[in-house]
Symmetry: C2
């Protein structure tokens, strides 16, 4: 059995609720409503939460571990578009919202613990606890700011500077993924990333 669905173990509940509390004030009764709408999943390194062609019916919250989102380009290469580590939400919003086949893969790059909400549960939850909808509005806003900042960086600074900025911003994260994945995420070839590193600053 690769994929395991559970009730959310007690000690894991804290992580999700704590994250919600950072942005909205959640009351006890609401916590129960939230936790009964979500499930818990353990994925081993290299297992998939989503593959190309599937409908993406769920949204994922990383408790422990790391996920990557990527697609296969026309020329057959993996292009990584996102990573998700602890306290990050991730899904293919396009497929999730429009119930259209996804072009992406979502794969664990480490053994990971994930909270899962499916689309229907989430919509019910939005109606039941409007604060959750506010929370997601805020999360989406933050994701949008981050995506726009990445777009800006691509157009204004060199690949070398982008790599160095990234390492400075997320030093711990750089240790956790192989260089060829980092290169793909940064939009450069592994060879060129290697040459940048060889320059030793």
């Amino acid at each position: 059995m690769n994929h395991q669905f559970h009730e959310v173990p007690f000690e894991k509940r804290i992580e999700l609720i704590e994250h919600l509390q950072r942005f909205v004030a959640v009351e006890e009764t609401e916590k129960d409503q939230i936790l009964s709408s979500v499930s818990f999943k353990i994925v081993k390194k290299k297992e998939y939460l989503l593959t190309e062609g599937q409908l993406c019916t769920c949204i994922y919250f990383v408790i422990r571990g790391c996920l990557r989102v990527y697609l296969i380009t026309e020329s057959g290469l993996e292009q990584i578009t996102q990573f998700a580590i602890e306290n990050w939400w991730v899904t293919d919003y396009d497929s999730f919202e429009n119930q259209s086949p996804s072009q992406f893969f979502i794969q664990a790059t480490e053994d990971s613990e994930i909270i899962v909400i499916d689309k229907n549960s989430l919509e019910e939850l939005f109606n039941l606890v409007p604060k959750v909808e506010r929370y997601f509005r805020i999360i989406l806003q933050k994701n949008l700011i981050a995506a726009q900042r990445r777009l800006l960086w691509i157009n204004t600074i060199s690949s070398e500077q982008r790599y160095r900025n990234f390492v400075e911003s997320f030093p711990a994260f750089v240790q956790r993924v192989p260089q060829y994945m980092l290169a793909s995420y940064l939009g450069i070839t592994p060879e060129f990333l290697s040459k940048i590193r060889a320059k030793k600053q």
Copy 2:
């Protein structure tokens, strides 16, 4: 008098409410609450809604016309990050949410008619009419999908293809802005865009 604030003229109300109706079902009493929270503004070509260093306290909805969002890079060049035409919302979400000084300019590239909501009014409106918060969650989700798609394009297809895709997707829009702005938005030099065009397909 450059900037004019008004009650929203009756015939303009329709545009905003119609856009809301595409995503959430708004009732008559809610329409009134929404419309009393917003104001209306006319900006002439080249006028600014936001300049670098200001706090971005408002969010803008374009009724007629076109806005561009840009910043000045370290090397002193204008880098355009977004355009907004009819039925698009635009703001600097970073400055708007965190009340930090903006690094962006928001400028009209045509004479434009704009609906304006300031941050406080919007937050009141979210509490008063939760459907509006749902609407903005959906709008943010769409913006995020678009931004992620742009990021993907930059990493997977050539500048020439990106330009041709853009022209095919937004043929009318290409007529409305000068080429050097389009080049900036696409992340290429005006010279290179000119050379692409000279190739005649």
